[in-house]
């Protein structure tokens, strides 16, 4: 019977080409917009996550127990060899590096500014973060150049320093003493991310150890790990927690290090659901209107069908099938249009550079590349079908409850 329901549905819809056409166009526009918005959302979410993680944070970090909460240099790892050993040959790890992270003050020629000092391993850092790619002026740090420093461009501007100028960095040592050291600016960094451009000072980790009195070769505050994909993060964390003594170390996912990023992704997801809901309500209202008009136009026909022995359930199914056919027509057209737009911009990007400042605040690139995912497509498809069934229920119920004799008297 399903085939005749579908055939009847299709033919009834084609009987009123103008009405059906307008509904299909309306549905197509809604579904196309939804598909494109969903792809845009995925695109900038992925972009935001990747930028957030790869700018400097990494997918996973290992610290001495309690460091993330205290952020005190005294809670540093005296030796990272145990962590390095645990990471050796672990699957899904692309690279890792060591850092010493400490807040301090930068001074130069009478100007002072707060600074976040990061002692890095120049060669390993290139494999883990994108900081290397953000060097706008000058050059990346060299291992042998112990007094070199890279500054965020806004920080350098505040300090009124340029390439080759001297900068004094001051920070507390693990014992609580203030230690200062003179560095020379080797390069300026521009990432578009406020925290990096306004605060960051990169120095070689070996110099940071000496300057802050951490002494030993393996001392560090962070081991920063880059995974091969976001989906590998949970496995890596689980693996590391099994291999490391959790009394001495803490293993944190990127979301745990800065919950804001995860909240942004969750918010964006909720926002997509809200847009999805709104579009589905609009689609539902449009389809409901069309199906009710169709139902009232065909009261006699439904009466005739009932008189011939078509059961209430069969009439109900018939109208729901017609609604599904209508939504499928609009849905397919809309999905093709939305997917085509998404794929086009996935290739060439959607340039939103005029909002670059706002984007950088959220670790987003101003050129968005929509990403059409299977999950996003399935979500739209299911929502459209659920909307179709919901929109079809009332007209179907009305049609199935008609009194055949009264229905056939209708003019």
């Amino acid at each position: 019977m399903f085939r005749i329901y579908m055939r009847l549905g299709l033919r009834n819809l084609l009987l009123y080409p103008m009405r059906t056409g307008l509904t299909v166009v309306g549905l197509a526009v809604g579904i196309a917009a939804l598909t494109f918005l969903s792809a845009m959302n995925n695109g900038w979410l992925q972009n935001m996550k990747a930028n957030f993680v790869l700018t400097q944070m990494g997918h996973v970090q290992v610290h001495a127990k309690g460091f993330e909460k205290s952020r005190r240099i005294s809670d540093y790892m005296h030796a990272t060899s145990e962590v390095d050993k645990a990471l050796q040959n672990m699957p899904h790890i692309q690279a890792w590096t060591h850092r010493i992270r400490v807040s301090g003050l930068a001074s130069a020629a009478g100007a002072n500014a707060s600074v976040l000092v990061s002692g890095i391993e120049p060669e390993n850092e290139k494999k883990v973060s994108r900081l290397y790619g953000f060097v706008q002026q000058g050059e990346w740090l060299r291992k042998a150049d112990k007094r070199g420093v890279l500054l965020g461009d806004v920080l350098a501007e505040r300090l009124s320093v340029g390439l080759g100028d001297k900068v004094v960095l001051m920070a507390a040592s693990p014992e609580g003493d203030i230690a200062s050291e003179v560095f020379r600016v080797r390069g300026l960094i521009h990432s578009g991310v406020l925290d990096v451009d306004n605060l960051l000072a990169l120095v070689p980790i070996s110099m940071a150890r000496d300057w802050l009195g951490l002494g030993l070769e393996g001392a560090a505050t962070d081991v920063v790990i880059r995974a091969d994909a976001f989906t590998s993060v949970d496995g890596i964390v689980k693996n590391l927690k099994q291999r490391l003594d959790t009394h001495d170390f803490e293993v944190l996912r990127w979301q745990e290090i800065d919950p804001m990023a995860e909240q942004w992704t969750m918010f964006a997801d909720v926002y997509t659901w809200i847009v999805l809901l709104v579009v589905i309500i609009v689609v539902l209202a449009e389809v409901l209107n069309t199906m009710l008009m169709s139902m009232y136009d065909r009261v006699r026909e439904f009466g005739l069908m009932a008189a011939l022995g078509t059961g209430q359930g069969q009439l109900f199914a018939m109208v729901v099938c017609e609604t599904l056919v209508l939504v499928a027509m609009g849905g397919v057209l809309g999905f093709v249009l939305g997917a085509a737009a998404s794929l086009y911009f996935a290739e060439y990007g959607l340039n939103l550079s005029q909002y670059a400042t706002a984007f950088s605040f959220m670790y987003m690139s101003p050129i968005v590349y929509p990403e059409l995912t299977l999950n996003g497509c399935a979500r739209i498809l299911i929502a459209a079908m659920v909307g179709a069934v919901l929109a079809g229920i009332y007209p179907a119920w009305k049609a199935s409850r008609l009194n055949p004799a009264a229905a056939m008297r209708e003019v």
């Binding site: 019977m1 005739l304 059961g311 209430q312 056939m408």
Partner: protein, 230 residues
């Protein structure tokens, strides 16, 4: 109820309410129909013919009374069982709007057979056979709007007969036809009645229909006033 009685209606009443006014559309109707009968219900417009036909066809409910068809108390059936009873036992030919407009003549005839669960090839063969029987050979693929009024009524007759029901109800089948087509349709139904032994109950005040009738029942003001066996 004896074996040769197909239908027995007892004290059927149906009232329509208009403000404070109660109009008796059927007023204690007692009526029976023999198997293989060809009966015409006649009477003026508003005499209750269509209402009685609707009750017998289980399309509407009487307010009081009882109705047995083929020995079954059909008023006691649920809505779904009534639909199934109509499907299995009753064929309809209505005055107008008789066909499903998006289906071809063949598909219209096959529709009821499909509802009965018959296989595609079998139901299409039967539809073609009955369309040929009513003189519509070669027009099987046409939709209702491509057929004349007379041809549409013939498709409706073919549909009613195709499922070989126990009872065929026809409500003013000739009302929208010219006299030539009306007479031809009545002759066709009479011939099928004689040849196939199906029971026909036809509501009509067309003299052609009455002339073709084996039994003519006259109704007035919702009552059967002269059951006359010819």
């Amino acid at each position: 109820m004896s074996d040769d009685i197909l239908l027995q209606a007892t004290d059927l009443c149906k009232y329509y309410h208009s403000g404070d006014l109660n109009v008796a559309a059927l007023d204690h109707v007692n009526f029976q129909l023999k198997k293989a009968a060809f009966t015409v219900l006649s009477g003026r417009s508003g005499s209750g013919k269509t209402t009685l036909l609707n009750m017998i066809g289980l399309l509407d409910n009487p307010d009081t009374g009882s109705l047995h068809i083929a020995g079954e108390d059909v008023l006691a059936l649920s809505a779904s069982k009534r639909a199934n009873f109509r499907l299995q036992r009753i064929g309809f030919v209505f005055q107008a709007y008789n066909l499903i407009r998006v289906l071809s003549a063949r598909e219209n005839v096959a529709y009821v057979l499909q509802l009965r669960g018959m296989a595609k090839k079998e139901r299409l063969d039967i539809a073609d056979r009955w369309l040929s029987e009513v003189g519509l050979e070669g027009l099987e693929g046409r939709r209702p709007d491509q057929l004349s009024g007379g041809q549409q009524q013939r498709v409706a007759v073919a549909r009613a007969l195709a499922s070989e029901p126990a009872l065929i109800l026809a409500d003013e089948p000739t009302a929208n036809l010219d006299s030539q087509h009306g007479e031809s349709l009545m002759m066709l139904m009479r011939e099928l009645n004689e040849r196939c032994g199906m029971t026909f109950l036809i509501a009509s005040h067309d003299p052609v229909a009455m002339a073709a009738a084996q039994q003519c029942v006259y109704m007035q003001d919702g009552k059967v006033v002269s059951p006359d066996i010819r």
